[in-house]
C-alpha cells in the first residue's frame, strides 16, 4: 500500500515531458490486481466446491485436474478442431461483412434505409430461436453452424460500425477536404481511424456473440465439438470434465477479446497506448 502511494506521487511529479515511469507504474498495478481477482475467484470456487454447493459442482482443483486430463487424452483438441472451424469462419465473415456493410450504410443514405432496420430487428430478436429454423433449411453441417455464429455476431458489428461512421468528427472531414483529400482518402485516412474505437467495441461484442452462437449450435443442432463434449460429460456425470470444458471455452473467448483489443491499440489507436 505504501509503495503504491509513493509511485503515484512520483507519477504525478513526472507528468511531463517523459511519462515513461508513470506508464510503468500504472501498468504494474492493474496486472497485479487482475491476478488477485482471478486468485480470489478460484479460492471462492474451491470453497464452494468443498462445502459442496451441489453434488454436480466440482472444486476448482478437480476442474483443473480434469482439464489436464482432457488435454492429455486429446479429446479437448479434437473438440476444438471441429468447433473452431465454423467459429473462425463465421467470425471472420461477420467481421468483414459487418464492417463493410456498416461503413456503406454510414456513408450512403439509401443503404442505410435498406439495411439498418433489418439489423435493428435482428439485434432485438432472441436470435437463438432462429437456430432450429437454420437447421431446418441448411441441415446439420458446417453451413448451419457458421450461419448460427453469423446471425449472432453480425448485427452488433454492423450497427456499431454504422453508428461510428455516421458520427465521425465533422471538423476532421472538413480538414481533409480543405487539403484536397479524395473520397477514398477521406474514408481510409479519416473516417475509419476515427470510427475504429466504436467499430472495435462492436467487433468485441460480435466475437463474444459468435462464441455463444457456436456453442448454441453445437448444443442444439449437431452434437459435435465443445457442445458435444459438454453434453457427453454431463450425461456421464463427469462434472469436473464438464466444467473444465466450459471454463476452457470461456478462457478462449476472453483471450480472443484481449487479443483484439491489443490489435486495436497497436494498429489503429497508438495514442491510447499507456494512457
Amino acid at each position: 500500500m505504501a509503495v503504491s502511494i509513493r509511485t503515484d506521487g512520483e507519477a504525478a511529479g513526472l507528468a511531463s515531458p517523459s511519462t515513461r515511469s508513470a506508464t510503468v507504474a500504472s501498468w504494474d498495478q492493474p496486472i497485479l490486481l487482475r491476478l488477485v481477482s482471478i486468485a480470489l475467484f478460484a479460492g471462492i470456487w474451491e470453497v464452494a466446491g468443498r462445502i459442496p454447493v451441489s453434488f454436480a459442482f466440482p472444486t476448482f482443483s478437480d476442474t483443473i485436474v480434469a482439464f489436464f486430463g482432457l488435454l492429455a487424452d486429446g479429446s479437448l483438441a479434437t473438440a476444438y478442431l471441429s468447433t473452431l472451424q465454423p467459429l473462425v469462419l463465421g467470425v471472420v465473415l461477420s467481421a468483414f461483412l459487418g464492417v463493410g456493410l456498416g461503413t456503406i450504410c454510414g456513408l450512403w443514405r439509401t443503404g442505410e434505409w435498406l439495411v439498418i432496420p433489418v439489423f435493428i430487428v435482428l439485434q432485438a430478436a432472441p436470435v437463438a430461436a432462429f437456430i432450429p429454423m437454420v437447421t431446418f433449411v441448411y441441415g446439420i453441417g458446417m453451413t448451419a453452424k457458421t450461419l448460427a455464429v453469423m446471425i449472432l455476431a453480425l448485427p452488433v458489428i454492423v450497427l456499431n460500425t454504422y453508428k461510428a461512421v455516421r458520427n465521425v468528427n465533422e471538423s476532421l472531414l472538413v480538414m481533409c477536404r480543405s487539403f484536397m483529400g479524395t473520397r477514398w482518402q477521406t474514408v481510409a485516412k479519416i473516417i475509419l481511424p476515427d470510427a475504429s474505437p466504436v467499430i472495435f467495441a462492436g467487433l468485441r461484442l460480435g466475437v463474444a456473440a459468435g462464441f455463444v452462437g457456436v456453442v448454441l449450435a453445437e448444443l442444439l443442432i449437431t452434437p459435435t465439438g465443445i457442445g458435444d463434449l459438454i453434453t457427453f460429460h454431463r450425461s456421464r456425470a463427469d462434472y469436473a470434465e464438464m466444467y473444465a470444458t466450459i471454463a476452457s471455452i470461456i478462457a478462449l473467448s476472453t483471450l480472443t477479446l484481449v487479443f483484439l483489443q491489443w490489435v486495436e491499440v497497436r494498429v489503429f489507436r497508438p495514442e491510447s497506448r499507456g494512457t
Binding site: 471538423s171 476532421l172 472538413v174 480543405s178 487539403f179 476515427d194 489503429f268 497508438p270 495514442e271
Partner: protein
C-alpha cells in the same frame, strides 16, 4: 489618427497594386438569415489581412467561402486571377478547433497535407520536420496531440498549413481556443513568421487588439447582413521588439478608433 489610412463605405476599394485574392459580389444566405451581402474585397499579396467584426457578421463564412469549403449563393472568388469554388493547392486552412487527428503523431499531422497529395514519406517528413522546427515544436515530432497544450496544438495546425507550401494561409480564429499567455507568444511568433515566409495571410478574429497587433490591413465587417463597413491600414512598425507594439501610440489609437466604430453593433 493621422497615421491611420482610412477608407470609408461599402463601395469597392480601388484594387491595391497586386492582389492575390479577389472577392467579387459574394453573398450567402442561411435559411432567412442573410450572412453576407455583396462583398467586394481584394487581398494584397504578401500581406496579413484581418477580417474583424462582431459575432454574426459572417467573417468565418467569408473565409470558408474563400477556402472553397462553403459554396456562396452569388459572386466569385479568384486566386491569382483564376476563379475557384473548391479547395485548391494555393490555399491552406488553419482551423479554430485545430482539427488534428488524435491517432496521429505531430509528424504525421503536419505531413498530412502532403500525404494526401501523394508525396513520398521521406520527402514529406523532411519538409514537415522543417516546419515543425519553424513553429517551435522541434523535439515533439513523435508526440500525440493529447500530449500537447492548446497553444502547441495550434502550432501543429499552423505547421500543417505551412508545409503544403500554399500562397495563401487562411486562419479561422486560430487563437480563440488558446490561453492568453500562449496567444501573446503565438501572435509574436506569427509576426516573425510572416517576415520569414513570403505568404499572404487572411486572418479571422473577433479581437480588436489582436487584429491591430498583427495586421497590415483590417477589414471591418458589420453584421446582419454581413458587409464591409471599413478598411483600415494600421501603420505600425513591426521591425523592432514585438513587445513594444502594445505600448505604441498608433496601436492604441487604432484600437480605440475601431472600438468606436464597432460599438454600435454591440447590444
Amino acid at each position: 489618427m493621422g497615421a491611420t489610412a482610412l477608407r470609408n463605405g461599402p463601395s469597392p476599394v480601388p484594387a491595391p497594386i497586386d492582389s492575390i485574392v479577389e472577392v467579387r459580389g459574394i453573398s450567402k444566405t442561411y435559411g432567412n438569415v442573410e450572412a453576407l451581402r455583396g462583398i467586394d474585397l481584394d487581398f494584397p499579396r504578401g500581406k496579413l489581412t484581418s477580417l474583424l467584426g462582431p459575432s454574426g457578421c459572417g467573417k468565418t463564412t467569408l473565409l470558408k467561402i474563400i477556402a472553397g469549403l462553403i459554396r456562396a449563393d452569388g459572386g466569385t472568388v479568384a486566386i491569382n486571377g483564376k476563379r475557384v469554388s473548391a479547395p485548391g493547392p494555393e490555399r491552406a486552412f488553419v482551423f479554430q478547433d485545430f482539427a488534428l487527428m488524435p491517432w496521429a503523431t505531430v509528424m504525421r499531422n503536419v505531413a498530412f497535407g502532403l500525404e494526401l497529395r501523394g508525396t513520398n514519406k521521406a520527402e514529406r517528413e523532411e519538409i514537415a520536420r522543417r516546419y515543425i522546427a519553424e513553429v517551435g515544436l522541434a523535439g515533439f515530432e513523435d508526440k500525440y496531440p493529447h500530449q500537447l497544450s492548446g497553444g502547441m496544438r495550434q502550432r501543429v495546425g499552423l505547421a500543417r498549413a505551412l508545409s503544403v507550401d500554399a500562397d495563401v494561409l487562411l486562419l479561422d480564429e486560430p487563437f480563440s481556443a488558446v490561453d492568453e499567455q500562449n496567444r501573446r507568444k503565438f501572435q509574436e511568433d506569427l509576426i516573425r513568421l510572416r517576415t520569414n515566409q513570403n505568404k499572404t495571410f487572411i486572418f479571422v478574429t473577433h479581437s480588436i487588439e489582436e487584429a491591430v497587433y498583427i495586421s497590415d490591413r483590417i477589414v471591418l465587417l458589420s453584421p446582419r447582413p454581413g458587409r464591409v463597413s471599413q478598411i483600415i491600414e494600421p501603420e505600425i512598425g513591426r521591425s523592432g521588439d514585438p513587445e513594444r507594439i502594445h505600448r505604441d501610440r498608433h496601436y492604441l489609437d487604432t484600437v480605440e478608433e475601431i472600438w468606436q466604430g464597432l460599438k454600435q453593433y454591440v447590444e
